[in-house]
């Protein structure tokens, strides 16, 4: 489903998605049209979800991030979906199984803004256990190679 060459290509692209086909080709030992074809298929299959840029939130003025736990009342799970759509400050949001809650990241400019957001969430949703300010110390994709814990 995903051979070694694919993995090597992904590894390079995660580091720099502007790497040219030519460069990719010679790093894995293929021709550039072949690499292009492989990338196309990786996209088609959904392995590569998107080509994107990573932006520094601080550069946009979001000096603060909060990780919040949102627990809607039973049967009201859809409310979170709505909140995400309405509030652009939502970063990633994960539905957590077993606990019927969500864990989301909020990007904010100040504690004041955070308070306003939390009010708004607590208002429209049910309980939102506010949490905290966060300083990211690392951001990484899933591991591409075999790990000590498990082999692909």
């Amino acid at each position: 489903m995903l051979d070694d060459l694919d993995r090597r290509l992904l590894e390079i692209l995660v580091k720099d998605s502007r790497t040219s086909l030519k460069e990719l080709a010679q790093q894995v030992g293929l021709s550039s049209p072949s690499v292009a074809e492989r990338l196309r298929r990786l996209e088609d299959r959904g392995v590569i979800r998107a080509f994107t840029v990573e932006i520094d939130p601080q550069a946009l003025g979001y000096s603060l991030q909060a990780i919040v736990r949102i627990r809607p009342l039973p049967g009201k799970l859809h409310i979170v979906q709505k909140l995400i759509e309405e509030i652009p400050e939502f970063g990633e949001c994960d539905k957590v199984t077993g606990d019927d809650c969500f864990v989301a990241r909020l990007f904010v400019r100040s504690i004041g803004d955070l308070d306003k957001l939390l009010d708004r969430i607590a208002d429209k949703a049910e309980t939102s256990t506010a949490i905290i300010k966060a300083q990211p110390i690392r951001r990484r994709p899933p591991p591409l190679a075999a790990t000590a814990i498990s082999k692909p």
Copy 2:
């Protein structure tokens, strides 16, 4: 520090970082060399941290994600740094202020693997309050435009 044109460029690139300079140029009403120059400066200033690809963890076999809370004993904060380096399953990890803990994402293939990892963390670090399995329902960058809460 970051004008409207920059923001529009970023907005386009977040959606698809392979958008050509030519295409970017005509969308914002500049010439391609000017766009190139702007992008170069955005990178130099650290606004754009990286050009990258977003990979579907499932495609790599990581059908499970866990969000874990790690709270090292006082004075042992560096241990988390070490864990991150040693364990490729670590996704992003945030240092949380006020609570002296970390919140991290783990990519795993099975509950078994998760258990092994949690043991290893609880072993080397101090307390790790394991948490849960997560299903991402949305992944987003910080908001690029003004929001109802705050203006840039």
